[in-house]
Every structure is written in structure tokens, then in C-alpha cells.
Subunit: 68 residues, 6 copies
């Protein structure tokens, strides 16, 4: 009965891509651990602005400007 | 000093229902564990689209269409 | 298809109390929002030491010593 | 720069299986969204007892006894 | 490789304040634990309405009205 | 009423260091956002093995072996 939370920045994940992430991670848990897909929960959080996400002490907005 | 996070899909939870969830879960923690309500935190996340929530390898949008 | 995470300090929550928390919060979500219990997930995290939990800038260990 | 949290019950996930979950989900995010693996974080929480996990208002311990 | 999640109510955190939170908490983890800033992740969740946040069994909206 | 969750690998964070993290992050939220320390919650999760934490598609255990 796994629970998976995927967090990404709000940079345009489409409905089709969400479907692929949900089916992909559910398959992975079945393949690797034999987990029953029926009770696998996946929640995708794609609401986070690049201003709200930091790495290396900077916002992702700043990191992106530097072309990293 | 419990912390409770309730996640639901964004299908119209009213302010009154949020109050009931918050008081209900705070009472539950006091009744069962004797936790002081003053330091019980509850956060309701009701921003998640049915496209972003998966069960059984499908999005809840798809599951709902099937009338499950 | 709600997901609920309850976090408490590791101060002796019994198996019976866990059952009461799980059934209580599942009932609450059915009563208030009409959520189907079959797809309500509840995870109780009771592994956190009072040294790892802070409130008011202090650990709960320190807060407890003061008799609060 | 995705962050993925996988939660499963503590029923014997091996080091090899953890590697497969981490590489599998990192590959998935690269394939579907073009995310750079270098900044993909994955955390597997496999510490949760079946007594602490509820579905359908019951603990997973109880659900397993019924042979579901 | 720390991961930090900061949750606050949606009451007007500016981009400049977000930068200060991200750099501040990254510095703290380097100063106290020697953690490499390059792999420190910080996510600020400031989307939560005061209606969705409870303390003492009440929503923060209600608590604020009382002038607490 | 902020809630902060700090996740680190289980590599020996002392009680004194935990105190510094809790007071440091509580001060930061007061300094930057004027948040009342009395209702600032901090939870440090330091139970995660380097086998359970992935970056770049590998476990931190593997990354450490390479001397990164």
C-alpha cells in the first residue's frame, strides 16, 4: 500500500505527463516490490513556484537565470 | 504537540467542513492520547487536482469517469 | 481518497490507540466529506524523539522539563 | 529538481531493491519530464509498522490477517 | 543532502523574504552540521489559507479574529 | 504558525546540534517574517539511512563511496 509524493516546480507538467508519472511509478513499485497497484497512491505536487524552491542557498529562479 | 496533515482532492471542501475536520481531529487526539489541543496543528491540503492524484496506476480523473 | 498523516512524539502510543486514531479519522472524513473509507489512507508517525521536535525555539524535551 | 518521497510498510525492502526504486524513479522523471538526474532527490521511508498504517479504517496488520 | 520544507499561511511572503529563508536555512545547516549547500534543498509552501490551518481546534482565521 | 520539517541522513546529529537547528530556524522565521516563536513547530527527521536516500539516481551510500 505504498504512498508516493512527487514534487516538481510549476513549469508546465501536462495531464498526459502526469498519467505517465502515475502509471510509471505504480509499475515500478509492482515490479521491484510486488506491491498491489490497487492500493498504490501517488500525489504529484506541481504548484511550487521556482521562487519557493531553493538549492545551493539560492532560489531556482536565480539558478535558472545563470543557465545552470 | 501533534501535527496532522489531511490531503484531499480539490472538489469543494467548504470553510464549515474545514472547521469540522480541524475540531474533529483535534478532539480525537485529545480523547485517544490526551494530547493538549492548544499545541495540536492541523493542515488541510485541498489544492490537489484529480489529475495529480493517482490510485491503481490511473489518475482519479480517470477513475471517476469509470464511476468507481 | 484522502491521505492523512498524524505525527506525534514517541511517548508510548499503543496498538489499541493506533486503531482508534485510524478508525476515528477515517470516520471523520466519511461523516464530514462523504469520503469512501475504502480508499482512505492514514499513516501514524510516532518515531520522533522529543529531542527532535521543537516548539517556541526549544526542544519538547526542554519544554517538558519546565512542566509545561 | 524533483523531490520524491516513497513510503512503504517495514516489510523487508532490501538494499538492492532500494537502489532499483531510486534509479527507476529518477529515470522516470528524466524520461517523462526531462528532469536532470543530478538534482533529483528520492527518499524512501520504510520504517512504518503495519500497525501504524491504516486503510479502510483498519490497520494494515488487521487487513493482512484477513488475507486481503 | 538535507531537505527542508517550510510551511506558512498565505499571508504575503515576498520573493525577497523567500530568498532570505532559503539562504538562511541553508547557512544554518552548513554552520551546525557541516552540510554542503550545493545539495541542500528547501521548499517553501506558502499556499495554505488560514481557513485550512488549525491550532487549538480552531482555524487560524478564527484565532486571528480573536486577536491572538 | 510555521511548520518546518528538516530531513537529514542518520549520520550522528547530536542533541546539542538539534537544539541549534530548532532555535536557529525559529529565529530565522521570526527575523524574516515576524512569526511568533511560540507557535513555530520544527520536526527533525534524522532516521533515514544513506541507503534510503538517493541523488543522481544513486543511493547516498554509493555517492559517499566515490568520495563526493
Amino acid at each position: 500500500m505504498p504512498y508516493v509524493n512527487i514534487r516538481i516546480t510549476d513549469e508546465g507538467c501536462t495531464t498526459e505527463q502526469k498519467k505517465q508519472l502515475i502509471s510509471g511509478v505504480t509499475d515500478l513499485l509492482e515490479d521491484v516490490l510486488g506491491k498491489n497497484p490497487k492500493t498504490t497512491f501517488v500525489i504529484i505536487d506541481d504548484h511550487t513556484s521556482t521562487d519557493n524552491w531553493g538549492i545551493g542557498g539560492e532560489t531556482v529562479t536565480e539558478v535558472r537565470k545563470k543557465g545552470v
